[in-house]
């Protein structure tokens, strides 16, 4: 399992990318991360909810309550326009980062 320290900077990007596809709620999101990474990265509850809080405070996502799944009241998250914009910026930032780092790795 990947250490949460390394992943810290990418948690927002991961959450935004999941919410780009559709609105979702806590468990669904953490399960998506688990399934997509084949269990290599498990986002802890506290990490997940700190990230939700940060994203919501900076108006990149918004929350609403719904009983859509199994009739249980859940907090759903929806990406905002600002969120979409930020997502695209972060993606290009990540591509740049990946490019830069891989220069060093390949030189080895």
């Amino acid at each position: 399992m990947i250490s949460s320290d390394v992943m810290r900077g990418f948690n927002s990007l991961i959450l935004l990318s999941i919410l780009m596809k559709e609105d979702s709620y806590g468990y669904q999101i953490s399960n998506t991360i688990k399934v997509l990474t084949d269990g290599k990265y498990i986002m802890k509850e506290t990490t997940l909810y700190s990230a939700f809080n940060r994203l919501e405070k900076s108006e990149l996502i918004e929350s609403y309550s719904s009983t859509e799944t199994n009739g249980k009241p859940r907090t759903y998250y929806r990406i905002t326009d600002l969120g979409r914009q930020t997502y695209h910026e972060k993606v290009s930032e990540w591509l740049d980062t990946k490019n830069i780092i891989s220069q060093f790795i390949e030189e080895e």
């Binding site: 806590g26 468990y27 953490s30 802890k44 509850e45 506290t46 997940l48 909810y49 907090t75």
Partner: protein, 326 residues
């Protein structure tokens, strides 16, 4: 599922009880419940499912950090002290020593007249001459003052040590693992505490009985009755003080009882006001008495001040409570 709920409750217990935190707690619980049910549906055993869910909870400090960024950071610094696990252990060790020392000091003070009387009783067994007895009566003051001197020394030394920790009138913040650990310790401590307090009460009830017995058996003109009385009380009080200090240490570290954040914050202003109001009441009482010769009625100032002050304290505490909730 109860294990998970209890765990989340215990983690959230030292976070502010705001609606925001309440919502967060419920969201996290729903989330963990979903996860738990899914694991069970995948055919994983109850214990393993609970273990997985708890291990994926993470660290509540992340939430605290995130939360503090938005809350008034100064407020946290002014009233609160964050203690690490080793600091908590250190403080607990100090408080155990402090408890023994203060309890010993108090018992020594109670025993000091008993020591004086014992000294006299033993001396009177040795000699019959009344002139020697007079001198012995005078000398018997030495053990009295010796005991009091030792007690005062203990109070000063340990009082200064206590001050070094600088936790008076501060809310203690500890991380969730330390909190869970202390919670367990306190639970284990409680039965012993109850027994100690009960023994103390029994000793204090036995004290006058021993006095009466000694009077009946040895005649009413003997000092042993008082020595027994004070001996029983000294041991009883030792138990009260020692166990009381340990109990309040747990309360302080876990922010319970008299050490909830509202009470600690409120006590700052309340203590300051008490320092002004009560001497003022005494001054008014004395002036009314000496100048207007109203000794018969002036005493009413004390119950009135007391009641008004109590009303003010509880009002102020509830104001702080509501403020913290918003």
């Amino acid at each position: 599922m109860d294990t998970i709920k209890n765990y989340v409750e215990s983690v959230f217990v030292n976070l502010p009880r705001t609606s925001e935190m309440q919502q967060l707690k419920e969201d996290m619980l729903t989330n963990m419940e979903d996860k738990y049910l899914q694991l069970k549906a995948d055919g994983i055993s109850e214990n393993e499912a609970i273990g997985t869910v708890l291990s994926e909870f993470g660290n509540i400090d992340e939430i605290i950090e995130e939360y503090n960024l938005e809350s008034d950071a100064e407020q946290v610094d002014n009233y609160s002290v964050q203690l690490s696990e080793t600091q908590v252990e250190d403080f607990m060790q100090h408080r155990t020593k402090f408890g023994i020392a203060i309890a010993t000091g108090v018992s020594l003070c109670i025993l000091s007249p008993a020591m004086m009387l014992t000294f006299r009783e033993i001396a009177s067994l040795v000699t019959d001459s009344s002139s020697t007895m007079d001198r012995i009566d005078l000398l018997s003051v030495i053990p009295l003052f010796l005991f009091i001197a030792i007690a005062v020394g203990i109070f000063i030394v340990f009082g200064l040590k206590e001050e070094q920790y600088n936790l008076d009138k501060k809310v203690v913040l500890i991380d969730s693992a330390t909190r869970a650990h202390l919670d367990r310790e306190m639970k284990e401590f409680k039965p012993g505490f109850a027994k100690a307090i009960a023994s103390g009460v029994i000793l204090c009830i036995l004290a006058p009985i021993s006095l009466l017995l000694a009077i009946v058996l040895l005649g009413d003109d003997n000092a042993w009755s008082v020595i027994f009385l004070l001996g029983f009380i000294a041991v009883g009080v030792f138990l009260f003080v020692f166990y009381g200090i340990l109990y309040s240490t747990y309360e302080k570290l876990l922010s319970l009882g008299d050490y909830t954040p509202e009470k600690v914050i409120a006590s700052k202003l309340i203590d300051t006001i008490a320092g002004v109001v009560f001497p003022l009441a005494t001054a008014i009482y004395l002036i009314a008495g000496f100048v207007y010769d109203a000794w018969g009625t002036a005493w009413i100032i004390f119950p009135i001040t007391g009641i008004l002050f109590a009303a003010f304290s509880s009002l102020y505490q509830s104001i702080i409570k509501t403020k913290r909730k918003n």
